[in-house]
Amino acid sequence: MVGYMIWVFALLQTILFVAAAPLLSGLVKWLKCRLQNRRGSSILQPYRSLKKLFKKETIVANNASFIFHFTPYLIFTITILISATIPLIIANSPFTYIADIIVLIGLFALARFFLALSGLDIGTAFGGMGSSREMMLSSLAEPALLLAFFTLAMNAESTNLSTIIQHFITTKHLLFSPSLIFTALGFVIIAVAETGRIPIDNPDTHLELTMIHEAMILEYSGHHLALIEWASQIKFMIYCVLFVDLFFPFGLATSLTLNVIGISCLALLAKLFFLSFTLSIAEINLAKIRLFRAPYLLSFAFLLCLLGVLNHIILEVR
């Protein structure tokens, strides 16, 4: 019953994704601390803080509307849905047929729309500031992201994530093709912008002047905050896994035998560890840039992705 097995695997993969997301964030934080010569909290700390937040009482301002109450659930749900469509261990997940990469962009946009609305809901200056900055930066990141996805889709002739990854697995040399190199560089910059890491936004502080994501969710507390924090950790993991899957897909399981899946798990762990290590080193050495210099960085990402498309058309296709 291969049909049933693959659905079960896809479901298990999703649950694993959701459960492992805080672990990745904890790993990055721990690595950063260690690289800065501090002891740092344990890797499991995000789980403890989520547990604490679920237990705490939830306080809601007196002028909150249904959007405020409804947004954390919506964001969490959408993020889980997106993570279901990303091949984590199996390359051929059936959930990818529901939503292709353009729908992925649309779903992220939907989550961001509601988060920005909930930032404006209470009517404080912080929420408005966070929403305004977040929408500006994500508007500038979206064309670059679409061009990056287009280059990949033009290479694989489909926008379905499974098809793209399987195409890259079977044609091995493509790692070195210049369009993919440029697209990978552009994708890294976009991922940094979308997940709110240094140099766009500092994920460790809660200062109003430096924050974008934190300002929008300032009014949330208790289980609402837990859901939103978890959703942003899942989003970070989604971008990491996307990068690893699209540009370094060797090792992903293309069939359902046990040792192939085992190799895939080990490869995934190794790749994510390397990525976290690189990210930590980058975060320590770079500083957060001024808000109005971020558009220049994002336009450089757009340029890189555009060069990726140009290279694909000029140099690679007869």
């Binding site: 959007i67 939503a99 809901d121």
Partner: protein, 666 residues
């Protein structure tokens, strides 16, 4: 079917006549007029869908005494689709109109409004059905004139009169350009009806001329940049249900005209036309949304968004022409389907948003975004439906705006099929700019929704707002439901639309019986299943909600709702003026895209009070239209010397003309 169509048009005209007849009994006039309009709209929806399903093609003629001035009408799938769109929107207006007009009844007479509304709708039906040059132009003029009288309904204000004048001017200019392009076509064809024009063969240069004239004419009516200046002036001053009709439907009639002209009347397509339309579409979309971001008048914001969406439709049409002229008819069908789907979607969500704006204006008599706030607590139903409109226009799944954008992206993704390298690069760049446009549109609607409904009230008038009557809310609810339905069941809609590319291009998309998965091109494993997506969201959302909130355990407490005030940095209760205003929200975008607007920003201080003024306008009015106006006035003054005023000079003109004619004839 033939009889039904004729009856529908007659009922619509009768709706206007009955308003005239029952002039003195307002309530009855309103009731009967709108009831007849509603009946005709239901019939139109029925006729439209039936023709699309059965793909029939009916023509009939009304012969008049003048030769060459017969009336000829044809009902084919293209016309039927747009008829159905008109019908849907008019149906919603039928519910909305009576309660909305109650606010005007006391101060002025609504007979004029009812008559002109009926004539406007009837004229739109006639334009769609017309199939010879005379009927088309007659109906087009009727449409422009009746909408002028509707725009100038609130004529006391001089701003309204000026705006209506600009509208009339540009509507007539567009009519002239269309007339000129039809003139070129008529030169090469035996007869003036569309079928013989289609069979005529045009030399290349004349075809290009006809195309350019038609593009300018229909484009001026549709609102592409830089011919768009009447849109943001005319839409805010008209009553809201008229703005909904104009923005939702009349712009689509212009698109219909362009489609009919290019695909049906001009036989062969050239890729240069496709590239022109694609570039115009991309520029209009991007500039439209950037101009919209800086507006703080709600209806002007919505008008600029109409420009943006027309740009998106033009992108789809341009792609269809490019693929058709390079011999990829199936891909051209995909582009055409994307453009037509977006026509339908835009009509639905734009009307919804304008109706919502009308409700807001009705309740608090205010259009400025900076003076609203917190309305979600006073009018929750309106807020919900307006939210659905905002989500749809920002192209977010699972609503309908996303489906047409997805189809457009899929079409541009077929760029590697083209052989020219330049085109292969142009299409992805156009797609990237489309992504930028939709992201900026989402920003704009977060700003608009946040400034109107969320936060705390910025002025006192907001306190008196409440949800409007049931019929107005029902109209908005109907449109929201349509937005959701067309978002979740795209395959069903595409199967309906598919008969149009079949008619115009000779081939349609390969339709599948599978109603769950949207798979536009076979052999390509791209799929999208919005119903499953929706289902997934609801299931997972339900599970999460149950796990987190409903289950009584240590991990979830009930929300303490005991009147906590928002966080004010420890200063305690802060006023409503510290929240982000709409202009503040859009400021980062203004800094990033600095050169796009002509910005005048002044900060004056007097006696410790600061006054900050921010005026953003688009460049085209100042640098294109005012210069054009100066030039034309200059020429007109020079020509005015002919009019000497002296009787003897006029007699001299007549004398010399007589001499000239005698010499020429003899």
């Amino acid at each position: 079917m033939l009889l039904l169509t004729q009856i529908t048009v007659l009922i619509t005209i009768f709706a206007g006549i009955i308003a005239l007849l029952l002039q003195h009994w307002h309530r009855l006039a309103k009731f009967f007029s709108f009831a007849l309009l509603g009946l005709s709209s239901c019939l139109t929806i029925f006729i439209g869908s039936k023709t699309l399903i059965t793909q029939q093609n009916i023509t009939w003629q009304i012969v008049t005494a003048f030769p060459g001035l017969n009336w000829q009408f044809t009902l084919d799938p293209l016309a039927a689709f747009f008829l159905a769109i008109v019908g849907l929107i008019v149906l919603a207006i039928t519910f909305y109109g009576p309660a909305y007009l109650r606010g005007y009844e006391k101060k002025r007479s609504i007979t004029n409004m009812l008559l002109c509304t009926a004539l406007f709708v009837a004229a739109m039906y006639l334009v769609l059905l017309a199939s010879n040059v005379f009927s088309f132009l007659f109906a087009w003029e009727l449409m422009s004139l009746s909408s002028y009288f509707l725009v100038i309904y609130l004529h006391e204000n001089s701003v309204n009169r000026k705006a209506a004048f600009v509208y009339l001017l540009m509507a007539h200019a567009s009519g002239l350009f269309i007339l000129a392009s039809f003139g070129i076509l008529a030169k090469f064809s035996t007869n003036l009806d569309f079928i013989s024009i289609h069979l005529a063969h045009l030399p290349t240069l004349w075809a290009h001329c006809a195309f350019i004239l038609a593009l300018i004419g229909f484009g001026m009516k549709a609102g592409i940049i830089p011919l768009h200046v009447w849109l943001p002036r005319a839409h805010p001053v008209a009553p809201s249900h008229i703005s909904a009709l104009m923005s939702g439907v009349m712009l689509k009639i212009a698109i219909y005209g362009l489609l009919r002209f290019v695909f049906s009347l001009l036989g062969t397509l050239y890729w240069q036309w496709g590239v022109t339309i694609l570039i115009i579409g991309t520029v209009s979309a991007l500039l439209g949304v950037l101009y919209a971001l800086m507006q703080h008048d709600l209806k002007k914001l919505l008008a600029y968004h109409s420009i943006e969406n027309i740009g998106i439709i033009f992108i789809g049409i341009g792609l269809a022409i490019i693929f058709m002229s390079t011999n990829h008819p199936v891909l051209a069908a995909l582009g055409l389907v994307a453009a037509l789907y977006h026509c339908l979607n835009h009509a639905l969500f734009k009307s919804l948003l304008f109706l919502g704006a009308g409700v807001i204006q009705h309740q608090i008599h205010e259009q400025d975004l900076e003076k609203m706030g917190g309305l979600i607590h006073k009018m929750p139903h309106t807020a919900l439906f307006f939210l659905i409109g905002c989500i749809s226009i920002s192209a977010l799944p699972p609503f309908n705006g996303f489906v047409s954008e997805w189809l457009t992206y899929q079409t541009t993704l077929q760029a590697p099929m083209l052989s020219s390298g330049i085109l292969r690069t142009l299409l992805p760049i156009s797609a990237a700019l489309l992504a930028l446009t939709s992201a900026l549109a989402a920003t704009c609607f977060v700003k608009a929704y946040g400034a109107i409904f969320l936060g705390r009230p910025k002025t006192r008038q907001v306190r008196h707002a409440k949800d409007p009557t049931f019929s107005m809310v029902a109209a908005m609810g109907f449109l929201s439901l349509m937005c959701l339905v067309f978002g979740i069941f795209p395959v069903f809609t595409i199967n309906l639309i598919n008969s149009i590319p079949q008619q115009l291009l000779g081939t349609g998309l390969i339709t599948t019986k599978n109603w769950l998965w949207l798979m536009p091109l076979t052999g390509n494993t791209t799929t999208y299943a919005p119903l499953l997506l929706c289902f997934g969201v609801l299931t997972i959302g339900g599970v999460v909600f149950w796990l987190v909130s409903c289950r009584p355990s240590n991990y979830a407490k009930k929300i303490k709702d005991a009147g906590y005030i928002p966080w004010g940095c420890g200063f305690g209760k802060i006023g409503a003026t510290t929240q982000y205003t709409a202009s503040a929200f859009a400021m980062p975008i203004r800094r990033v895209f600095k050169g796009v607007w002509a910005v005048t920003e002044t900060l004056t201080k007097d006696n410790g009070n600061f006054e900050y003024n921010l005026i953003t306008e688009d460049w085209s009015w100042r640098y294109f239209y005012e210069k054009l106006e100066k030039y034309l006035t200059f020429i007109a003054r020079k020509i005015a010397y002919i009019q000497g005023g002296n009787v003897r000079i006029y007699l001299a003109y007549m004398f010399f003309t007589l001499l000239l004619l005698l010499w020429l004839v003899i």
